[in-house]
Amino acid sequence: MWRPIAGGALRMTLLVWVICGLAYPLLEVGVNQALFPQAANGSLVRIGHRVIGSRLIGERFTGPAWFHGRPSACGYHAMQSEASNLGPLSRRLRDHLWARRARLVREHPELATERLPADMITSSGSGLDPDISVANAEMQAPWVARARGLPLARVQALVAGATKGRWLGLFGEPRVNVEVLNWALARSVAP
């Protein structure tokens, strides 16, 4: 009984390795490169031949002329996706939240008594979250409009263009893609 079991185990190991570890992924690469070439290669966006980012991967925007994404535990280093992993009672978490709020209030004193959207000062699960909430984008719209000397309605229209609702009206959350929004902003007028 032992010999067939050992021999079978060895042949089974190699067989499953070839089918599931090589053939299956390579087949999927071939099929999906043909079916969805854009998505299969990372949803990259180009200007000419130059890749300027992926519409799914957030990046750090600074300065008043751009919409800002969420705080990131990895500084939007795409090679190091991670969350802060700070516990709910963590002192460091509390310090981070207060510091982010203080910075916003310093730049926009009118926020001093406002409650902020939950996503605005909390860091995301991946550190690469490309989205912010609609409330967050609406709060930033007047700041960006002022910095760029654009009519607020124009900026709000761009926000609406980068907004996605819930899937089937039910799943997920309404959100604004900061990558798409800022690219649209750059196309619309130079800062």
Partner: protein, 575 residues
Amino acid sequence: MTASGFWQIALVLGIAFGLSIPFGAYLARVFRGERTWLDPILNPVDAFLCRIVGRRTTALPMDWKGYAVSMLVTNAMMGLLVYLILSIQGVLPWNPLRFSGLNPFLAFNTAASFITNTDWQNYAGESALSLFSQMAAITFPMFAAAATGLVAAIAFFRALAAPADGGRNLGNFYHDFIRALTRVLLPLCLVVTPVLVWQGSPETLTGVAVAHLMQGGVQHIPLGPVADLEVIKQLGTNGGGFFAANSAHPFENPTPLTNVVEILLMMVTSLSLVVTFGIFVGQRRLAWVMYAVMGVLLVGGIAVTVCAEQAGTPALAASGIMLQAGHGQMGGNMVGKETRFGVTGSALFDTVSTAFTTGSVNSALDSYTPLGGMVSLGQMMLNCVFGGKGVGTLNFLMYGIFAVFIAGLMVGRTPEFLGKKLERREIVLAALALLIHPLIILLPAAWALASPYGVSALGNAASHGLSEILYAFTSAAANNGSAFAGLQANTPWYNSVLGLVMLIGRYVSIILMLALGGSLAAKPSVSATAGTLRTDTALFGGFWLATIIVVGALTFLPALVLGPLAEIFMMHPHG
């Protein structure tokens, strides 16, 4: 809980339960060798694969010992192959970022982790593994571990189905394994992968894209064969991600649609196996009782987590965050959660993932509220709320055997389960299977807490630190793989001990349950009389539930009091 949140959860659970009935019947047909609609295409494929493995080997009748030995030997060889590839990936192909091999401790931990269906990760995929390793050393054992768990459960079902030969033939491990791959895992993976790619999950052999950002600077964006890995990761209740951020990463889980697909994938087999069990033993009413008991624990866990995460914490409230959903934002505890999923989509995903012992996460459990985090910890401590592929059902039946035994003692009847008398040998085996789980959680956790090399890995202080260590060993023992990821466990000690805990948690439990099955199969059936304690009633279901909760609580409450429960009280220092 918001209205849209409620309907989101209700719909996902409804679809999952709805799918499980036909799929459970399909699994029963596949493993009882009955005709299925894929036969015309797959019968020749199966025959060809059986010929490669060996015609004699795949036709050998196996009792529980033969089945267990074949499983162990096959898994050992597969684990060794994974270890080897990870160790020498530096000289293997498709390594665009030139990663060197993993050190022996990390390679052992990773190989043990993926072959045992745990998928605990002490490495970050995008900055440690070549594309070849992701395929040949990660995707490969994900299929193998899923198929192993599935066929182990099937062999146990056959043993409980009162076989006429007394359990001398519980099927052939190799034949079952091939059918699990060709009839269940591979077809579903082939169909679902393009859905994820369509939504934005990459599937390419390019390793990295360089983006020149508009504000200057470059961003290196890791790519690879992500989508195909993602599907088997969820379907096989494996849980190990291509990237460190797992299903929170926009490439692994790009949209709310993929979030739903991934939740359904991890639920469908374990739900279906309950139906399959009912068909195998010819007791559908019993299957419904099991369904109801596990369902109560699952739905309760989800409800508590979602409400706790929506409520947030005093620290969040004090920092001036809106905690109520509405006015274009989702509110709640969004620390470590992604905007597109919000509180509901995150809490639902992670609770399902710990109940079904997948271990993939789309949000950082370490940053959950104490109550939300405790639910995930509790699901893994019980380790039977549907549970991982195959083994969850085994654990649940183990609790059932205990419930019968205890109830039998209380009313003074001989305990019987499925027409077989439960005697000393069965109870001893079940007791061992029950005790091994807390033993391999609490002992190493205590060791870690008492040692400098254990404590120095902590990412958080005080009670939350204790929770991090407790979570790590619970996750390893339950073969879950999710983490309170603040713990920096990539050290020789953690790699070795966690690896051993995973191996014991997986194989000792399966072998004990197969032995239990073999022992029951060899017994003569006793016909039910008016004096038989019926197990397919709501009353017994309630007793079953109570047994699980009482045993689980008695075992783990002291540890929980020091961890998440203490945190709940510390969260409200004046109230």
